[in-house]
Subunit: 335 residues, 2 copies
DNA sequence: CCGTATGTTTACATCGTTGGAGAAGCCCAG
DNA sequence: CTGGGCTTCTCCAACGATGTAAACATACGG
């Protein structure tokens, strides 16, 4: 079944190594031999066994990507970009889902399939500072999202504080005064959420507006249902509010659904903003204002940084990925 | 850096093979030796080199999944389920994006990384009947979606004709009479679309209602923007219609956005239905009626079928995956 | 016409693991 | 005490590729 180098060699009447040389583009092979070998390769439909090659060379051309869940749109979009970027460099991507659980993130971090993966890109949720340092077993790692360790591990992120600050400021300058928050950090998770909350507070400070932390809603997860539940709770408190800043888009979309059910008009009565700028933001009703990280750039840089590390490069690139605040209908001025 | 079997063997004072035996749970190893070996494994932090193992055993524990694009939500959802199901069986999943291009689908089909992948699950768009038969190079393959070849290759699908028929019938029985279609097959693509159109026609036949094929809109792709564009065109024709059956959910969501912009009320003026039942259907405004294939079941069966083939099993399982028509607000009766 | 430089091809060891054959140690029946 | 059957363990070869070094061929200048 399997065609081996040896078979090609026999057919072409040369040694195994010569065939290997032809395939790997080794320069000193005579034109005639090369032609003969290539003919044999063609005739037999030879394809190298990457298993063996990588055993020999020590590199597999496969990288692992760990995300919480693929059906969380943001991560699917990032994954799509990562796969594209990796493909352009001749790398293949192995995708793992961690559900944000520390255990599984650690597993991905340590290279899942040792020897089978040249590097790891991980979007961590549950990891602690020390976890990362301890676990990295020599597999190059690039983290996406907030810096987990203060250590040597590469990470890429957007400036969450600044992004949240800009978005909040735009809400305040358009006249909103009671800005609720959905998705405040609970427990040890969500370092990104903490930074976003920080940006929210700074914006209030910048403009000398007081905030009301009774309008800060925690969530059990970061999906539509969680946003819906949180806003339901928010409305239940009876406290007035004229804007909601949701710490991701799915929460915001869940929020929109609940507001609609309560006949609250968006943006006339309440402005809503999200974070991540998933495709759906441009099509929801109303369309959703959101912080838009440059995902293509993020993925590209992640893959390139990883490859640089795999090649043993030592220079750390800029960890900051650009973002933009995209204003859409959901936060149009209320006047 | 790398700890090899040999190192463990030296530390434990036994042969390499004995260590291998311990690790693979070979029964005839004395308790004392086993303990000594395990201690050494622990002490050195040994992890087997899967590259080498799979070179030797001929199995890698990795399967490939090929989908058009991950950021198309339906495929992300399917991928998430496939990764879960594979993980439960100790398999890891390598994800490729084909963009629906024949070339790239063929590449995935022939095992992308020969020897590195034990099997392939592919959701094809551009492949022809013959392509599949010719390309399968001994790697077990399971296709998702419409049967492409009439051949020996396993495939899983839902009954598209019946699903479209049931959905269309429900539109007709609720009083709709001019049901537009968005996503009719163009060119050689879209065998699934052809079947759905077939179901649409049969439902009309069943109830003795005439259809108007000037209400059938073709699309360039199957994303929101394409649905939006198609409905824009549909409205432009000036032809009356009281329902739109979109051949996937994204098209339908794009359609909703355009209808809203034209102040067409859904479902009062026009009913809208989609296909695939992505998560968003439950949260859009209005919520979207859709055909819901059992994705968990689909993924589970795909993985199990693949494994059965990898194990050399010969019995073909039932290729039909259950579905349900989920009625939501977008098709509520107009009276 | 030889020695050397240059270019091309080959033989062999090697990567880390597992399968198979058989060696070594042990226990027990004869 | 010997021999047969177990159990437990070791040695060697092999999976399919590539790197090294050496062998072989050819061409050229002296």
């Amino acid at each position: 079944m399997a065609v081996r180098l040896k078979d090609v060699a026999e057919m072409a009447g040369v040694s195994v190594k010569t065939v290997s040389n032809v395939i790997n583009g080794y320069p000193h092979v005579s034109a005639t031999t090369r032609a003969r070998v290539e003919a044999a390769v063609e005739a037999l439909g030879y394809r190298p066994n990457l298993q063996a090659r990588s055993l020999r060379t020590g590199r597999s051309g496969v990288i692992a990507l760990g995300v919480p869940r693929l059906d969380e749109v943001y991560f699917a979009e990032v994954a799509a970009h990562v796969i594209d970027a990796a493909g352009a460099l001749g790398l293949t991507v192995l995708v793992e889902q961690t559900d944000g659980e520390r255990e599984r993130e650690l597993e991905v971090l340590s290279g899942i399939r040792p020897g089978m993966v040249d590097g790891v890109i991980l979007s961590p949720l549950g990891l602690s500072r020390t976890d990362v340092d301890e676990t990295t077993r020599g597999v190059p790692v690039v983290l996406l999202g907030e810096r987990v360790s203060g250590s040597a591990v590469d990470h890429l992120r957007i400036d969450n504080v600044e992004a949240a600050r800009q978005l909040t400021r735009s809400l305040l300058t358009s006249g909103r005064r009671r800005v609720a928050v959905v998705g405040v950090p609970t427990g040890s998770h969500a370092s990104a959420a903490r930074l976003r909350l920080d940006g929210y507070q700074r914006a209030h400070g910048d403009l000398d507006v007081a905030w009301d932390d009774e309008l800060w809603m925690s969530v059990a997860g970061y999906r539509r249902a969680d946003g819906a539940e949180a806003v339901h709770r928010l409305v239940g408190t009876g406290k007035p509010f004229d804007a909601i800043f949701c710490f991701n888009d799915l929460l915001a979309l869940g929020a929109l659904a609940v507001l609609r059910r309560h006949s609250v008009r968006v943006p006339e009565d309440v402005a809503v903003a999200g974070f991540d700028d998933i495709d759906e933001c441009s099509y929801s009703v109303p369309t959703l204002t959101s912080v838009s990280p440059d995902k293509g750039e993020l993925a590209l840089r992640a893959v390139h940084t990883l490859q640089a590390r795999m090649d043993g490069a030592g220079d750390v690139p800029d960890p900051e990925v650009p973002f933009a605040v995209v204003q859409r209908e959901s936060t149009a001025s209320s006047r």
